[in-house]
């Protein structure tokens, strides 16, 4: 039973076409998103780890070493089960900073393009054996299926032309698969779905072979067990314990391979869109690999039972040939083909991306006039894919069939193992530096190159090398295990020692902090040289071209959900970081860093020592699920304090020394009407008016408090009390401002003032009626007489009398109107020169209207020319209240004297009565609202409180002394102190 070469090649093309169709349908959305975005698809795509080694190599390994073959899977299983240790920190880094390969991660961490270049070159070399393994597995399978019952021996001509054909086909499909997306940072849904499909095909084929082995070859499990009991030589390897240097080294290399291999790194991190998928993979991928590993031993035993001349790696094909079953041979071939093609496609794609970012772009900048940079990048990637596969083919030719699949895999995995120290140091060792990393890699890879790679190729002096190795470490497997441990040991030792002794640059230190998983990254608040999102595209255009720069800025703005009018410094810093991350996904972190640093620099001399508190808090909020123990307690405490600040019934905000708004609590939102999200991160001067001027003026003033500051919002006045304090210990000069809204209190005070005034009018009503009644009666009499009077002069005289009486009425009514409307509604105190004596006279006149009150004697002894700086209407209210109180305190022989003494800038007014006085224990309370010593119904208790309030508004003071004379009429003296002025003076309202 055999197939023609044409049939096999057509089958390969058909199979890869199906894969391409799956990718295309997934990209077009014809395969539903619930399938392409399902965690199972992501998990299956990670099955790319199981390349031809899983479909072929492990069978030979299991035949020779029993359960040791399981280490190939267990290494990966351990990495994913312990995913939280290394995978989650790396996923965080790759997601946040758009890093798509290990070279990106190490370049970002060690801030060195040289690191990226070295890692890329080393990775390409170390992966050659693994790519050759895939080519060899498929080429040998084609050779066997085409009718050869054995493989040609070493040096007698391998199926090289078959391999070349396979390589050309896979180059075409890899180009189609890997470069469908313009940008390497976009999730390649088609690729993920196609690789997941391949994993399913691979698993189905292996399970089919499992069924054939158990049921067709042995006739069931019981028969297989019985056969095993009778074949001690078959069972013997299974009784060997899995330990020793080689086994430990095996476990280590496969463990490291799960994160360091570029194709697994690409599928695990670059194609991940939700960390939950990685958590699902932590148990689902081990389950998948369990199912993939389950058929291995029965297939080996079936091969032994049937007996065949092929290498044990190809036992699956041998089963088909022995059973004369096209289906079994086909299943075995499909398993190998799907495993190998998936591995080649993803490895070359990942390596091509690394080469673009770390070899091509640093050496050959993109041509801005050569069309879209995305198109240029796509063609560069395509060329690199072809070069890499052809290089692997060249390596395969150079091997000339001297090595089995397992040996090739072990050499490749050992080479990749050398990157593990750098990867582990990225999240866990902030002291590591680039010199140490490069020295460690150089040491480890040198040992790997001379002890493993050169012998693999049959170096020019194999005998010399062999004898050298034998004398050093032994031979064969022992040599491999020793070489692996020694190379890694030297690598780690050099890395550690040099990192500890060599100087670490400042930018490396910052990057280490960002990558460190023990610390939340502490972003700093640095000032940019651009002031709006508009400027970004202009600045980037010289480096990226106008169209690409515009596109990158728009993309970053959309991702951050910022508008183009954004000008908050905080937002611009985030925009800059986002653009750098996005460019990092396209061009690699080194090139992206150079472009952004060159086009959008920070202010010179701004060292960024001030921490970006707002961003730090956002980061802590996002990292909260990771906190345990003391960290969780501290976080709870932080949340409690944050909530306390937010819910504080007084507005609180923090302004940085550079004028940036760092905190804005809920009360501030309510008081100012400015939403927190709109103002945080803004400069104080750019927040909406009038708050920018109000807060800026207060911040710049030397006063720590400002009471009853008036703010006009939407043509409405509001009054606020402002207090501030400087945070010197932790805030680097930040200021905390407290804003207290006292508008209601101010309005209430106004209302009380008005009510008191109305109450005074009520008390005056009877006297007013009497005062108005007399002239009205007089007018009525004069009018009656006027009707009968004929004497011209008498009539004129009577008319003058009438006018005199109406003038009297008018004056009374005007006084009342004036008093009742004093200051009502506006709430404003307008200070102006006011004649003190006139004001006292007016108050006395009003009080004399009250006929029911005691007829005390008022003596206004004030200088008629004396002017005070006051609101005359409010001052009238003060005198009405004080003189009214003085009158009420006197008996019918009472006398109230008003005197005034003027100094250079102040006037002191004394109002003395000879009334009953105020007991000492009540003197401290008389200025409290609603406190009165009068009988119920006679006083509101607001008079003196309003006097105090009005005098305070007019920058005056009020004092009270009692007694001022001997009993029985101790009397009281109220002293007012007010600023003195004159009509020529200028004064400030």
């Amino acid at each position: 039973m055999s197939f023609s070469l044409t049939q096999i090649l057509l089958f390969i093309i058909a199979y890869l076409s199906v894969l391409f169709a799956v990718a295309h349908l997934a990209d077009r959305g014809i395969i539903p998103r619930r399938i392409t975005q399902h965690p199972a698809t992501y998990v299956l795509s990670l099955g790319v780890f199981a390349g031809a080694m899983a479909s072929n190599g492990v069978i030979g390994m299991a035949y020779q070493q029993g359960y040791t073959f399981l280490l190939y899977y267990i290494g990966v299983v351990l990495m994913f089960i312990l995913g939280t240790i290394l995978l989650m920190p790396l996923l965080r880094l790759t997601r946040v900073y758009q890093l798509t390969s290990m070279a990106d991660v190490l370049t970002f961490r060690f801030r060195s393009p040289l690191v990226g270049t070295c890692v890329t070159v080393a990775m390409c070399i170390t992966l050659l054996p693994l790519l050759a393994l895939q080519i060899q597995a498929v080429a040998d399978a084609i050779h066997i299926l085409s009718g050869e019952a054995t493989l040609p021996s070493e040096g007698s001509g391998r199926p090289n032309r078959l391999a070349l054909l396979f390589c050309l086909i896979i180059i075409a499909f890899s180009m189609l698969f890997g470069t469908r997306r313009e940008s390497s940072q976009q999730r390649n849904t088609g690729l993920v779905t196609a690789i997941a499909f391949e994993s399913l095909v691979k698993l189905s084929a292996m399970l089919a072979l499992f069924g054939v082995a158990v049921f067709q070859v042995f006739g069931g499990f019981e028969s297989m067990d019985a056969w095993l009991l009778n074949e001690p030589r078959v069972h013997a390897p299974l009784e060997e314990p899995i330990h020793g240097d080689s086994s430990r080294a095996l476990l280590l290399v496969f463990f490291a391979g799960a994160v360091c291999m570029p194709h697994i790194f690409h599928m695990t991190f670059a194609e991940n869109h939700d960390s939950r998928d990685l958590r699902t993979a932590s148990w689902a991928l081990p389950l998948y690999l369990l199912l993939l590993a389950l058929p291995v031993l029965p297939i080996v035993w079936a091969g032994i039972k049937l007996g065949h001349n092929l290498p044990m790696d190809y036992t699956g094909l041998a089963l088909g040939l022995s059973l004369h079953s096209t289906a079994v041979s086909g299943a075995a071939f499909v398993a190998g083909l799907s495993a190998a093609s998936a591995a080649i496609i993803v490895i070359t794609l990942a390596l091509a991306n690394m080469c673009v970012n770390h070899l091509v772009l640093p050496l050959r900048p993109l041509q801005l006039d050569g069309g879209s940079i995305y198109t240029q990048l796509r063609w560069i990637r395509r060329g690199l894919i072809a070069i890499l596969i052809l290089a692997a083919y060249g390596f395969f030719i150079a091997l000339d069939g001297r090595q089995g699949l397992t040996q090739l895999a072990l050499v490749a995995f050992t080479g990749v193992l050398q990157f593990l120290p750098g990867v582990v140091a990225t999240p866990y060792w902030p002291s590591a530096n680039r010199i140490g990393l490069l020295a460690g890699l150089a040491g480890g890879l040198s040992i790997w190159f001379f002890s493993l790679l050169l012998p693999l190729l049959g170096s020019p002096h194999p005998e010399v090398l062999s004898s050298l190795y034998r004398s050093l470490w032994g031979t064969g497997e022992i040599l491999w295990g020793s070489a692996t441990l020694v190379s890694l040991g030297l690598n780690t030792a050099l890395f550690s020692l040099i990192s500890l002794t060599a100087r670490t640059s400042e930018e490396e230190r910052v990057a280490a902090e960002v990558c460190s998983m023990d610390d939340i990254a502490r972003p700093t608040r640095r000032t940019l040289t651009v002031y709006s999102a508009h400027d970004f595209a202009t600045r980037l255009a010289p480096a990226l071209g106008e169209a690409t720069a515009e596109e990158e800025v728009s993309r970053a703005l959309a991702q951050l959900q910022f508008s183009r009018e954004e000008n908050r410094p905080y937002a611009l810093r985030r925009l800059r970081a986002r653009i750098e991350a996005n460019l990092s996904g396209q061009l690699g972190p080194a090139v992206a860093y150079d472009i952004v640093e060159g086009c959008i620099p920070f202010m010179p001399g701004d060292s960024g020592r001030t921490e970006d508190i707002y961003l730090i808090e956002r980061n802590i909020d996002r990292a909260q699920p990771h906190f345990t123990g003391l960290a969780a307690d501290l976080d709870n405490l932080r949340r409690h304090h944050r909530e306390t600040l937010d819910k504080l019934p007084i507005g609180a905000c923090t302004i940085g020394a550079d004028g940036e708004v760092l905190m804005w609590n809920l009360s501030m939102e309510q008081i100012t009407g400015v939403a927190r999200n709109d103002v945080l991160g803004s400069l104080l001067d750019t927040i909406p008016a009038p708050w920018n001027q109000t807060l800026r003026a207060f911040l710049d003033s030397s006063e720590e408090s400002s009471l009853k500051t008036e703010v006009v919002m939407d043509a409405t006045s509001r009054w606020i009390n402002l207090h501030k304090t400087l945070m010197q210990e932790t805030g680097n000069g930040d200021s905390v401002i407290l804003v207290e809204d006292v508008t209601d209190l101010e309005m209430l005070e106004e209302e009380l003032l008005h009510n008191e005034r109305l109450a005074s009018i009520g008390r005056l009503a009877a006297g007013v009626a009497h005062e108005i009644g007399n002239p009205v009666t007089g007018i009525a009499c004069l009018a009656q007489n006027l009707e009968y009077e004929e004497d011209e002069s008498e009539i004129r005289h009577m008319a003058q009398d009438i006018l005199k009486q109406t003038g009297r009425v008018t004056r009374i009514v005007e006084s009342l109107m004036n008093f009742s409307h004093t200051g009502s509604g506006s709430g404003e105190t307008e200070l102006a020169p006011a004649n003190l004596a006139d004001c006292v006279d007016e108050a006395i006149h009003l009080l004399t209207l009250d006929r029911g009150a005691r007829p005390v004697k008022f003596s206004n002894l004030c200088d008629r020319e004396l002017l005070v700086l006051a609101d005359s209407q409010r001052l009238l209210q003060v005198f009405v209240n004080l003189l009214g109180n003085a009158r009420d305190a006197c008996d019918e022989y009472g006398e109230v004297k008003i005197t005034a003494q003027a100094s250079e800038d102040e006037v002191r007014v004394d109002i003395e009565d000879n009334g009953c006085g105020i007991p000492l224990q009540e003197q401290s309370r008389v200025f409290e609202p609603f406190y009165t010593t009068k009988d119920p119904g006679e006083g509101t208790g607001l008079g003196l409180a309003l006097v105090f309030s009005i005098m305070d508004d007019m920058n005056g003071r009020v004092q009270l002394v009692s007694p001022i004379a001997e009993a029985p009429n101790p009397g009281t003296r109220v002293t007012l102190q007010m600023p003195r002025t004159s009509y020529g003076n200028t004064f400030q309202v």
């Binding site: 312990l82 939280t84 996002r622």
Partner: protein, 58 residues
């Protein structure tokens, strides 16, 4: 910290009992699937440990 304390405890327990587990694994001539049973146990334990995480933590 990202590292799960239950996971660290499990690693410690496995390391302590590794020799006993290995002896049990290779002691039978017909129960060749014992390593797979342990493997499945690890899968179930990992699933149990991860099942309560609902949010994208990044």
């Amino acid at each position: 910290m990202y590292i799960n304390r239950a996971l660290l405890l499990a690693i410690g327990v496995v390391l302590i009992f590794l020799p006993a587990i290995e002896s049990w694994m290779i002691s039978s001539e017909t129960h060749w699937y014992r390593p797979y049973q342990l493997w499945l146990l690890a899968v179930v334990a990992t699933w149990w440990n991860q099942r309560s995480r609902y949010t994208d933590e990044l």
